[in-house]
């Protein structure tokens, strides 16, 4: 396996009035496990149902109802742990986190507090070719999602929908190793990418399948290094937690705003309050969540309705053996195997299906050329139309067939673009289309010579000029191409035009 060498990015520096500042970021990412049923009940996790339609008696915390854990969810947590090269704890314990809230029917959330299923791991966050941040993951634990309270449907009432209640989440807790707003966004992007590769989470941020709580503090240059040496959080600034972020763009903007806000307070001689904040995308600001200010005392204790979760190493091994190739490995392999650039490899690996598509196209062909076509033409077109690779109207086999025609000299690059359009909008077999529509490029020197001779004969004045100034021969090439319907091989035309005009190479 190849490991790409990389340098650590420099932390983002904010120039303040009293000198430079740095930002320190840690994240808790809540990823919905891609299960059909909930973590402790048999109700569906389907998105978009009517209020309270995906609610079992267990989810509604009816008296006497009991939780029974979903094996698939445990497996996905283990997969995620293995995907983050983390330690899998064969014994973990579910605790109750006790608090009252209308969308928390049990009056407690079942979570893993002291003994999570996954211990320390890491995420390599790519910032640029050759530049990446290694962010340590402290733990991953499983927990239940809460329901949803809706506050704007009635002037006096809040409405409670328990469809999300009990949906399985993995909470992935990072160490405070992220050092800038862009890194924060990229961390989430990379985490999402890995989870999607694993199939553990669909990563749909609009539907709330992936949300991040972002802890932000600021410090002076050098403080963070001291923290890393000593592990003493005291040398870092007071942190604020920005809750429930569901877009990379907002995360980046929120961190940036929050860092500047804290710096302004500190430079003003003030003190940052440790608090929970919400990001308002409309205003581009974070604001304090007053209702959460009350000091919490969650009274964690092991859930007596559940036994400790003990899993077998053999099961973990089997899960590990079934893991797909993960983005970092895939990227390194594409570079080595197909000779693509790190940048291109990164683009191709953003999504497992896209990388698979690319590899099908590149197989047995020129990898760089395949990458150009897949990235520039295909991805470009997909993006423009807001389509996923899975929705592509053009298959890898079609694109590959087109590249074969190009490589064989059957079509020119220009014709290839036309063919791409046809394949995109009409479909069909590339070779058959080329044959049926007479798109094959003309390489028969005799036919081209005839066309060249004709154009020169028809334009004697221009021919004289071009003989004197060879750079004008391009006009003849254009005319010949036009006369042959674009099917003439451009290199051949160029050579024959020069020969016809008597220009030396």
């Amino acid at each position: 396996m190849l490991d790409l060498a990389h340098d650590e990015p420099t932390p983002k520096v904010y120039a303040g009035l009293t000198g430079d500042w740095e930002v320190v970021i840690g994240m808790e990412v809540h990823a919905q496990i891609a299960s059909k049923a909930k973590l402790f009940s048999g109700a569906s996790t389907e998105f978009g149902r009517g209020p309270n339609e995906n609610v079992s008696l267990v989810d509604a915390a009816m008296p006497g109802m009991l939780p029974v854990i979903n094996r698939f969810c445990v497996e996905q947590a283990v997969r995620a742990g293995l995907g983050l090269k983390a330690k899998i704890n064969l014994r973990s314990v579910f605790d109750r986190k006790n608090y009252f809230y209308p969308d928390l029917p049990q009056g407690y959330q079942i979570s893993q507090f002291k003994h999570p299923i996954v211990g320390e791991g890491e995420v390599l966050v790519d910032m640029a070719p050759g530049v990446a941040r290694r962010v340590r993951v402290e733990r991953i634990h499983m927990e239940q999602d809460a329901g949803k309270s809706i506050h704007d449907l009635d002037p006096a009432l809040s409405f409670v929908d328990l469809n999300r209640t009990g949906v399985a989440l993995m909470e992935i807790v990072s160490r405070p190793d992220i050092r800038g707003p862009e890194e924060a966004a990229e961390y989430v992007r990379k985490l999402r990418q890995i989870l999607r590769y694993l199939g553990a989470c669909d990563g749909n941020m609009q539907e709330g399948s992936l949300r991040a709580d972002v802890n932000v503090s600021v410090c002076k240059p050098g403080d963070y290094e001291r923290f890393r040496e000593t592990g003493d959080f005291g040398v870092l600034g007071t942190r604020c937690e920005i809750k429930n972020m569901n877009s990379m763009r907002f995360i980046q903007a929120a961190v940036d705003f929050e860092a500047r806000r804290q710096i302004a307070i500190l430079e003003d001689g003030g003190k940052v309050d440790q608090e929970t904040r919400l990001y308002d995308p409309g205003k581009g600001e974070t604001r304090s969540m007053r209702s959460k200010e009350e000091a919490h005392d969650y009274r964690y204790f092991p859930d007596p309705d559940l036994l400790p979760l003990v899993i077998e190493q053999a099961w973990v091994d089997a899960i590990e053996a079934s893991l797909p190739e993960l983005p970092d490995d895939k990227k390194a392999r594409l570079i080595a195997q197909y000779g693509v650039t790190e940048y291109d490899a990164g683009v191709l690996c953003a999504d497992r299906a896209a990388a698979d598509f690319y590899e099908t196209v590149a197989h047995g062909r020129d990898g760089k050329q395949a990458a150009n076509w897949v990235i520039n033409e295909l991805f470009g077109r997909l993006n423009k139309q807001g389509l996923d690779i899975g929705d592509s109207p053009m298959s890898a086999a079609q694109l590959g067939g087109m590249l074969d025609l190009l490589a064989n000299g059957d079509i020119s690059g220009k014709i290839a673009k036309e063919l791409f359009e046809i394949l995109w909008s009409e479909g069909g077999d590339p070779a058959e289309i080329v044959a049926a529509r007479g798109m094959r490029q003309v390489t028969d020197a005799g036919a081209i010579e005839a066309a060249v001779a004709q154009v020169i004969a028809e334009n004697p004045e221009k021919a004289e000029q071009a003989k004197a100034k060879p750079s004008l021969s391009g006009w003849f090439v254009g005319q010949v191409m036009k006369a042959t319907g674009g099917k003439a091989n451009p290199q051949a035309v160029q050579a024959l035009v020069k020969a016809g005009l008597g220009i030396d190479e």
Partner: protein, 495 residues
């Protein structure tokens, strides 16, 4: 012939199969007895129409020759069990009017076997109490009275309604639940048999939770044989309860040979309390003699951490309860307090729970919240769970040393009068559980068997504690005790 409502399960089963009487006839007799016993306040919800329909269905099954042992047997159900479409309030105002859209596994199994539901039985609120005085329905009066004394007595708690109903022959048997003695103590107070199975033997699904790691449902019956028959019906693994054990259920009734020769019965010295009434001491001695006479070997044993069981219990049970009862919040079911304009969610919670919970429940929920709260968890909850490990270890060591079962008194006294114990000292009432809580902490099976009467004419019970999953052997030990003690004590009907 015995009145039909006074039959045991075994007698009813045999008579029904022979065709001596019908399930409808037994059910009619029970309904009549229940209606005549309102003074006991044992039944809080009566379901006579349902009962008769179920009885007719049972008669049809009997006729068809498809009749499990419980088929056609009318039973009462503790209000803690959720029963589909029939009020289940855990004797609490906070569940006022709650009709579960589901049936608990234990009651489902009874109905599947053809048993007949007579209604729901009174209990201490959320099973928190030892005298049935914390019920939102008011206390149950025991069918027993002291000789020459008309003061109402407690039937014990928390399964007080179940105990009173079985003792007074209002039903053939009843379900109970036992978190710290709530089956065994009222059984002892009313002269019936009460069995708390091994933790995990009976499903907790659909039983309103008090303390999840301690709660177990079990039978409350007139005889040991009936306990075996009823346990057979309700026991077994349930995929809906993560703590129900995947352990096969043996034929409990087949184990009842009454032969206990060679059994080693341990007598723990730590259960000899200072100031224990002489009648309890005498009863215990009598129990030892009865088992020895039957051929068992009586050995002195030590369970050194016994003394700490009660304090550990009164940390662990309230801690779990404080969390289990958080769901009673006035949002999805049960009582919601009248709110004033401007009241918010906190007011809704605090008012609903203040109005809906009784004093004892509030006390325990608050104690539970306290011992789990930041800064106190280690000193109270964590320490109590460590002590619990030690208590279980005591029992394991005794069993490892060759003891088959352990004999103790079931209660530190005979039944007391309503209002006599507790008052402003909650701990005085807690002391009632002193002999029973150890078993819940260790997850063991135990049975209370009527073994004698005191001078005032009140029944007294002995407790036998068995090995984990050893209910069959335990029932047989109890059978020997029952055989020696003679016919079951019956209260004179004053109601």
């Amino acid at each position: 012939m015995t009145a039909l409502n006074a039959l045991t399960i075994a007698e009813a089963r045999d008579g029904l199969r022979r065709g001596d009487f019908s399930a409808r006839e037994i059910t009619d007799a029970c309904i009549t007895a229940i209606d005549a016993a309102d003074a006991l306040n044992a039944f809080v919800t009566k379901t006579p129409e349902k009962a008769l329909a179920m009885a007719d269905a049972a008669d049809a099954r009997l006729k068809a020759g498809d009749a499990p042992a419980m088929c056609g047997v009318p039973v009462g159900i503790k209000d803690l069990f959720c029963t589909e479409g029939v009020r289940a309030q855990a004797a609490s105002d906070i569940l006022r009017g709650f009709k579960p859209p589901y049936e608990s596994t234990v009651t489902r199994r009874l109905w599947d076997d053809g048993a007949v539901m007579l209604g729901k039985l009174n209990m201490d609120e959320f099973a928190m109490g030892s005298s049935n005085e914390t019920s939102a329905y008011g206390p149950v009066a025991s069918p027993w009275r002291r000789r020459g004394d008309n003061r109402p007595l407690t039937p014990g708690g928390s399964s007080g309604g179940s105990a009173a109903a079985v003792s007074a022959d209002l039903c053939l048997a009843a379900t109970g639940t036992d978190t710290g003695g709530s089956i065994r103590q009222p059984a002892a107070f009313t002269g019936i048999v009460g069995l708390k199975p091994t933790y995990g033997r009976c499903s907790r699904w659909g039983v309103v939770a008090f303390a999840s790691s301690l709660d177990q449902a079990g039978p409350m019956t007139k005889t040991v044989r009936d306990a075996a028959i009823m346990l057979q019906a309700i026991a077994g693994e349930d995929a809906k309860d993560s703590t129900s054990a995947p352990i096969p259920v043996p034929d409990f009734e087949a184990a009842l040979t009454g032969d206990v020769r060679g059994r080693r019965i341990g007598v723990p010295k730590e259960y000899r309390l200072d100031g224990m009434p002489a009648e309890i001491e005498a009863l215990w001695a009598k129990g030892r003699a009865m088992l020895a006479d039957a051929g068992a070997e009586i050995v002195d044993i030590s369970l050194p951490h016994t003394k700490y069981a009660l304090p550990a219990y009164y940390i662990i049970a309230p801690a779990e309860a404080s969390s289990n009862l958080a769901r009673y919040d006035g949002v999805r079911y049960g009582l919601r307090a009248e709110l004033q304009p401007g009241d918010d969610m906190t007011d809704l919670y605090e008012r609903s729970r203040a109005e809906g919970f009784g004093a004892e429940v509030k006390r325990r929920v608050m104690i539970g919240a306290y011992v789990l709260s930041a800064g106190y968890y280690d000193a109270y909850y964590l320490r109590a769970q460590k002590v619990r490990t030690l208590i279980r270890r005591d029992f394991e060591q005794a069993f490892d040393a060759g003891v088959d079962a352990i004999l103790t008194p079931a209660t530190p006294s005979a039944a007391f009068a309503l209002g006599e114990v507790g008052g402003d000292d909650p701990v005085a009432m807690y002391l009632n559980d002193v002999f029973t809580v150890t078993v819940n902490l260790a997850g063991l099976p135990a049975i209370s068997v009527p073994a004698g009467m005191n001078e005032a004419g009140l029944p007294l019970g002995l407790q036998l504690i068995g090995q984990p999953w050893g209910e069959a052997a335990l029932l047989n030990d109890a059978c020997a005790l029952e055989n020696a003690a003679g016919a079951r004590p019956r209260p004179g009907a004053w109601w």
